[in-house]
Amino acid sequence: MSIAPSGRDVVLAGRKGLFVIDLDDPFAAPRWLHHQTSWEVADVQWSPHKSKPSWVVSTSNQKAMVWNLARPSHNAIEHVLHSHTRAITDINFHPNHPELLATCSVDTMVLSWDMRSPQKPINSWSDWRAAASQVKWNHMNSNVLASTHDNNILIWDIRKGAIPLVKIQAHNARINGIDWSKTEVDKIISCSNDMSVKFWDQNKPDKAVYTIRTDFPVSRARHAPIGDHICGIMPSRGGQNSIYIVKFKDETGESKLKPSYIFKGHTEPVKDFLWRSRHSPNTDVDDREFQLVTWSADCDLRLWPIQEDIYDNFNYKRNQPLANPLPDYSYETYRREPPVASENNLIIRRRRNTNLISSRNSFTLQNDQFNHLNWISGIRIGQSAIQQMDVHVGDSTQPANLAEEVGNVGHKFPKVRFERISVSTGNLVISLNGPWNDELIFIRVEISFSKDYPSPTGVPKFSIEETHELTDEDRKEMLARLDEIASKYCSLRKFCLEPCLRFLLGEKVNLDIEQEEDDLTLDPFSIPYEDANASDNSIEVSSISDRDTGSESEDETAAIVDVNKPTFDSTPVPKGCGAIWTASGHLVCFFIPKEDKKAPQQVFKFGQQGFSLANGLKSKKIEHGMELPTSANADSEDDVSSLSSEASFSNDLDILQYDRLYKTKLPLENVASNPGTHTSKSKQSRNIVKIHDFRHLIPAKMELAFEYRVLGDTPENLAKCNALVAEKYGFKNLADCWRILSIILVKEVQFEDKLDLAVHAGFVSKDEPTDSYKFYWGAHPFGGRWLAKMIMKYYERRSDVQMLAMLSCVLYEHFENKDRPGVPINTPYSLNSVIPEKTLVRQSSKQGQVVSFDTRSPVGSYYHLLSRNRLSSVSTTSISESLVGSPGELHVSNRRGIRPQSIALGHSTPGDSYSLHLGRSPGAMSPSSLSSAGNVFSQAFLKSLNNTAPPPPASQTTVPKVSIQMINTDSLDLYEDAYSMSLLDDLDTERLQMYRAEYANLLFCWGLPVSRAKILKFNHRGSEMPSSSEHRGEVGWLKPVGKSVWDSVRTQRKCHYCHLLSRKRLVVCTVCNHLLHAACALLWWEQEKMEECCSGCGCRCLKHRLREVEA
């Protein structure tokens, strides 16, 4: 950045070229001199000489470009200075000779140039060792210049080429800037990355006169033009992005930074600072006024006023007589293109009341032109600019000035073209298409605003361009109406541009402004409009920041709303804040960006736990907060020094913040007590999306779902297992529930006094349920229905789908069992019943025929091993019980008892071991023997299955094929009924299915498809299986119906005798549709004397009438 000596224009250089901004008319779009380079511009400098007021020099890698702004932009490059071999790092106009300038470069060379012969440098010096970073001419002695190379300052004389006059080993790190004193010939300031600023006398190169220690690396330290021995210090980073003003008169030694004034306000490091001064022409007193101009990486160009107290502080006394007259520069802007530059002689009122101008380059580039509106809306003057900095929004109730109004309105009406905007003169030319006389016609309006707009006396003047589409009457009517609207608004000191535009666009404008406002203030729901102010605007403003429009008035918003109402634009105000649940129990929230948070936010975090499944078990605790700027930010960051960021910088950027804690095994116990604090880096204008973990509120737990089991074991074991799982994760309630269930679900109780039987059972391992006793809760209130029902009801109230679904699964199988006892439940006990599974596999592979369970699918047959055990023992028990209970009906019960058995052992020989046992059992009346019968039964059964040990001869010989089917189990006796009474009987099956479906859905979202499939198995309707699994085919003769014969003939076309394609003479059987060549038919029927169809279909074709056809 550099400022013109007149102090009017500022030139900014970037990779897209030069931008010339008129500081007196910041609303005018900057002039843009295109010069696309891929290198950052190291420096740009405006010629300080009166004779060459339009000259600017900038760098472009190893070249220096000399621009003449008096020439048209496309042809403004006067000279290209090309002699360096590496990138130029600094350029400096000679303070006394307008034609001389010096450049220095990474190639260690320092060159000086004469503009009159720009082909090659006139002088060169080199350090040879280190790249040059700065070059500065001495202000007093025109033969002396200084350059910096790494840590050293070299002072050269142009008359002495090879060796520097003085070499100062100044710093311990790279020097960033030097500045000669303007009043003392041998004084120089240097600043460096070693966090110090040093003041040197070139005659004493060994030791600095004065050293200031800072706590930030210093990128520039420059003398201030005001006062005596004042310098400005600019940090290259840190230092609160401020400019520090330091007095160093008579200071010696070393000290800390003691700023006498701080210019603070930028949000990013300042890239450059300049002093802008103005004085009245031809004065002999020093009446200069100063402003500080800063240009920062936050893309703000700010002008800082220097108040009187600062002048006093700096010992700067205005209106002192001057020894030398100050040079007068013509106060001209080079912002305009030269052809129009001549018009620019009109006096432009100096804006003395301007406190501060901050021009935010929130413009976008459109076809090589700035979007003027965006430029304007990026500019803030005075109050609103300060507001923007201090982040207090809502105090101002009006757009601060016309420019802001134009900016606001312009973005609200994207279809309205602002053909000319001249804020400084108050002229606007607007063109739009408005609905008049039932058609859209083109309207161009010129509006001129007076200085005291908006006020009762400052009503803007409208004039509408005459076009053929617009009748005179209409035009007059429009003008009258516009005047009416404008004067109405202006009389209330309100800005009237928007209602006028709305009127032109054909919307109705209500002029009862005051009354409506009263209504609105009475209306309690006006609050949302206020709150939504920023976002409301951003709807229409779209690409422009909330921040820009954030200061818009409540009144204006109210007016918008009111204007909206008659047109029934019922689009609700956008939701500024919202929360949406995710499938995993996280809450995604977004909020209205709060603008009044200067202090780092303390965000209370609820307990956070691993977000993704994969990371769920990480033991690290990661606190993680980061900004995720949207593309706009990214774009402008790498383009930071140029004005030309593609997207508007102040666009509402989303920050995506995630911060979560990853925890291990005990995730939810300490959930609420584990607040992580997080310091948000958010800027005020950004929307924040946060993801909070609220899984502790959701009864369904993902980690439980990981380990819960529904299949693969007996229900009581499953329940026990699940209880352990729940306990492991600290859900005591759930664990208790599972425990109770596991007790209810116990079917087989081991009896101590049956040990002898266990011994009797010999080779069977003790774990096997051979020596167990069947035990059922039945309708007992502690078990069975009542409890199950209450448990289900409880979890229903708790909305715990997970528990509901799990319970319904674990309690499920009885139901199935009862209904279709012979058919295996569709519960594959495959997971943990490893041993029987293996034996089964072995058996079926080795002996194929030994165990065949119907014609079930393998899935079904896994089940058999477990369930059969139980089924068979069930049946024996029931038989015995029935015998005990009703001895009188021995015969009947016997018959009933036998029947299932005989069916169960369908193919077994009558004399096999099973029948033997059973045959004995009716006679034995003691329960023990009965149970022993049952035990023996199951032993033998197991034997037959446990093929590992040498198989007992009985099973080997007599059980080649076992097919067990239980029929009429429900018509068996009481205990059987009690057993098969479903715990879930009372509950609606459909509802249970719904639970399971819903839980399955959850599991799916959690990424547990296998668990989901397991759950869904229970939803599969078992009853469909037996019937629908049969393939039914219809076998029969095809009925010869008219054309169908021909259809088939056409499709077959092959003689069934010779298998050749038959085209011509055919014989077709009318019944079986098989065809023959006429000749083949003769052979087949006549010579071979065959009676059946030659296709082998069995049809006796000759019995039917054959049809002989021509194909």
Partner: protein, 277 residues
């Protein structure tokens, strides 16, 4: 305006764009910025993954756009432009119904559009609310009878309406009108959990949230209404969202707070948490 499925987060904004973020553990990155709307984008919704990676968005420009990702490339695959005014909400039907999208618009209409396999669309439009329909939500699917489809809408006429699909007229017909709010209804949400009752939450600018319950799953009996809180919220209520399971309700509003609510065992709604910015 934010929606989430699995490992991706989609946000939409009044800057006319939709941004897709990839969320993987603690990392997240901007994957894609979707541009295509001519106005602020109000809402986005992910379709069920069985249809692919599909996102629906709706905007002030009166359109609903369907975006699809294939091989990492996002493209706009369909446009739904039957509305005359701003489309305020989009919501995918339960996946059992197919790729069916419900849109509500400021033109007072709601539309249900089904995207067929062959790329064609089947659209039903019905007049829902005078002045404007602000939000819509689907009832969870009825297990046995997939044809029995219901949805709920809320609008600027301060009403919440239940709609049922009528195969005879091949459109949705009004089944129940739930009156109770005194200002615009901004959001309605039908709880997806199929527990003992059906729950609908409606958030309104009258600073109240009503919970509508129905004991029958089908919703044939009259709906009962219950105020979520006796006291009004400090500011308008904008959004209501049910958790996928467990019936935890999240309400967000103009006070820039998100509050969570859970029904206790006695049927009262209790605060379960609060999120501030």
């Amino acid at each position: 305006m934010v929606n989430y499925y699995g490992k991706r987060l989609a946000t939409c904004s009044s800057d006319k764009t939709i941004k897709i973020f990839e969320v993987d553990g603690e990392n997240h990155k901007l994957v894609e910025t979707l541009k295509g709307h001519d106005g602020p984008v109000w809402q986005v919704a992910w379709a069920h993954p069985k249809f692919g990676v599909i996102l629906a968005s709706c905007s002030y420009d009166g359109k609903a756009l369907i975006w699809k990702e294939e091989n990492g490339v996002w493209s706009n695959i369909a446009e739904h432009g039957v509305h005359q005014a701003s489309v305020n909400s989009v919501s995918w039907a339960p996946s059992e119904y197919g790729a069916v999208l419900l849109c509500t618009s400021s033109d007072g209409k709601a539309s249900v559009v089904e995207f067929m396999e062959d790329g064609s669309q089947k659209t039903m439009v019905f007049q829902a609310h005078a002045i404007g329909a602000n939000a819509g939500s689907w009832a969870p699917p009825h297990k046995d009878n997939i044809k029995e489809r219901r949805l709920v809408t809320g609008g600027c006429d301060n009403l919440v309406k239940i709609w049922k699909f009528d195969p005879q007229v091949n459109n949705y017909v009004e089944e129940a009108v739930l009156a109770g709010h005194t200002d615009w209804v901004r959001d309605v949400a039908w709880s997806s959990s199929l527990l003992s009752k059906s729950y609908i939450a409606s958030a309104s600018q009258d600073r109240t949230v009503l919970i509508w319950t129905n004991d029958t799953v089908g919703g044939t009996s009259p709906w009962k209404k219950q105020l979520l809180t006796e006291e009004k919220f400090p500011d308008v209520c904008w959004r209501a969202s049910w958790s996928l399971s467990g019936n935890v309700l999240a309400i967000s509003g103009g006070d820039n707070k998100v509050t969570l609510w859970k029904e206790n065992l006695t049927g009262k709604w209790e605060s379960a948490g609060e999120v501030d910015q």
